[in-house]
């Protein structure tokens, strides 16, 4: 599997474009947001919520639901648009992103329906997910736990403490998905803190590992629908493009996070996504 930046030229279908346009609505409301990190996540979140996760939006604490933790909390807009799409939260809230009277901030909070854990400071979500997976196994409620990590996040030692523990505990009901867009805030992951050989690292921690194009809905679905390997947690390395859907933002560090987003920026983002 190639690791080169921007190697994935996957086209986006209407739903992927729609979800990105919803993210742009949030950006317009807050005039700020982690654009690159949200756009690289869209297909991962879409496939999870459209095809994989068991949930009941009218009963967010349903005990048998699958748990989904966005550990790279700065990609929250990609989660929010799915929670809106599935009816956990009203669309009006997306239009109040980061505003004083809104419930959706720049990192997801547990008080929001459908958000399993407050994240934002990196390196917390996997351990929380482990606790939930151990509980699901103990309660035999059939729930699975999905934790979405960032690549920059994987610099954190706590991620590897958790990975060691997940492997030792043979948590078959735990799925880690890494949004491997090869960029962190300062520069590429290869320059800041090279994760390679990344898939091998997860294998060494006793995970069953697969690698997919993280913008290819079919590949994501197939990887997620595969039964888990006996005695092993699953790790899916999702090769993605930071800023996917807006060519000038793709792999462009200036678009990792933007504040003071103008109406012109918004219109341009919408246009670019539409014609992608």
């Amino acid at each position: 599997m190639p690791n080169q930046i921007l190697d994935y030229k996957t086209k986006l279908d209407a739903r992927s474009k729609y979800l990105r346009s919803q993210i742009i609505k949030g950006l317009r409301a807050g005039r700020r947001g982690h654009i690159g990190a949200s756009f690289s996540l869209v297909e991962i979140m879409r496939v999870l919520y459209d095809d994989i996760l068991k949930f009941d939006a009218t009963n967010p604490s349903w005990s048998q639901r699958d748990r989904c933790i966005l550990s790279k909390g700065h990609g929250c807009l990609a989660l929010y648009v799915m929670l809106v799409d599935k009816g956990f939260i009203p669309e009006e809230e997306l239009l109040k992103f980061c505003q004083v009277d809104g419930i959706l901030g720049g990192h997801p909070e547990h008080k929001v329906a459908g958000v399993e854990a407050s994240t934002g400071s990196l390196g917390h979500g996997l351990s929380i997910g482990l606790g939930m997976a151990i509980n699901a196994r103990y309660e035999k409620n059939g729930a699975r736990v999905f934790v979405i990590l960032g690549d920059g996040e994987s610099n954190e030692g706590s991620v590897w403490e958790a990975a060691m523990s997940a492997g030792k505990n043979k948590l078959e009901n735990l799925v880690v998905m890494v949004d491997y867009n090869k960029h962190q805030s300062y520069a590429s992951t290869f320059e800041v803190q090279d994760l390679e050989p990344f898939a091998d690292k997860w294998r060494a921690f006793n995970f069953a590992v697969s690698e997919v194009d993280g913008h290819d809905v079919k590949q994501l679905k197939e990887a997620l629908q595969k039964p888990s390997k006996e005695g092993k947690p699953t790790a899916i390395i999702c090769h993605t493009v930071k800023g996917k859907g807006v060519p000038y933002a793709e792999g462009n560090m200036q678009w990792h996070h933007k504040s003071r987003i103008s109406d012109e920026d918004i219109n341009s983002l919408l246009e670019e996504v539409e014609k992608y």
Binding site: H110, E116, A117, S118, S121, G123, H124, L126, S127, I128, G129, L130, G131, M132, A133, I134, N135, A136, R137, Y138, E139, G157, S158, E161, A162, M164, S165, K168, N169
Partner: protein, 314 residues
Amino acid sequence: MRKTALNCVYELAKSNPDIFFIGSDLGVDTLKAFKEEMPERFLMEGVSEANVVGMAAGLALEGKTVYVNTIATFLTRRCFEQVVLDLGLHNVKVRLIGNGGGVVYAPLGPTHLAIDDIAIMRAIPNVTIVACADAVEMKKLIVQTVDYPGPMYIRLAKGHDPLVTQEETPFEIGKAIRMKRGDDGLILTTGITLRTALEAIKTLEVQGLDVGIVHVPTIKPLDTDFIRTQIDAVPLVVSVEEHTIMGGLGSAIAELIAESTFEAPKGFKRIGIPDIFPDQYGSQDSLMERCGVSAGAIVAAIWEISKKYVVSSR
């Protein structure tokens, strides 16, 4: 105290299927029976405190009550952010049981001295902090922790600590306990320095001063109204703790005094470990003595303050 606490957790877990235990890398055979009888609820996850606390949060978010045990310094300093965010922000029922609060690990040197644990925990919203005086009190505490809301830090002492409370001594999380009434002054203490305070008042009594003691096992939330009433009745107050004078019980009492209006001004002194890294090994007792946390230091402090305040207030 540690053995009592852990045995009590084991006993509670036997009849409560929602109780989990997570250790890091504890001594061999710790809670052996728990592991044998309830293996699915006994986890030993290695020297990885950040992960242990996060896992505990995940279990607690699912409605479990989780007891986590390891050395106090590693539960407070090493994984501070996990305690703040995973436990405090989510406000979940995780009980951090910290071994060796204070200078218990004197022979092991400064890396193992938990002299700032209370200050660290006090800064976190939603966290309750309890330091018991002995095993008798610890047993009463652990029973109450099952249903108490939110995260809790429980500071353990050395083990085989002298018993200074009785079965009939009242204990309730959040409540301070008047151990002795006295008109000339008041000692406020937490944890095992209750015994130091008891020793000091005996000397003071012989020397002609009638000094009371209020034991404050729950440092947060502080039993503010009761403590204020007790302070109001005396001319001088001394706080005593096996902890740095920065941010622990003494600081909490200083804040209370500073923000209260009393009939007469109060003399006040914090007795605790000064703002230094202790520089000796030896024993818990020898290091406490070295740091000025002793019955003699309490007696001296009270006489010193009384020169001004007892005379002026009478």
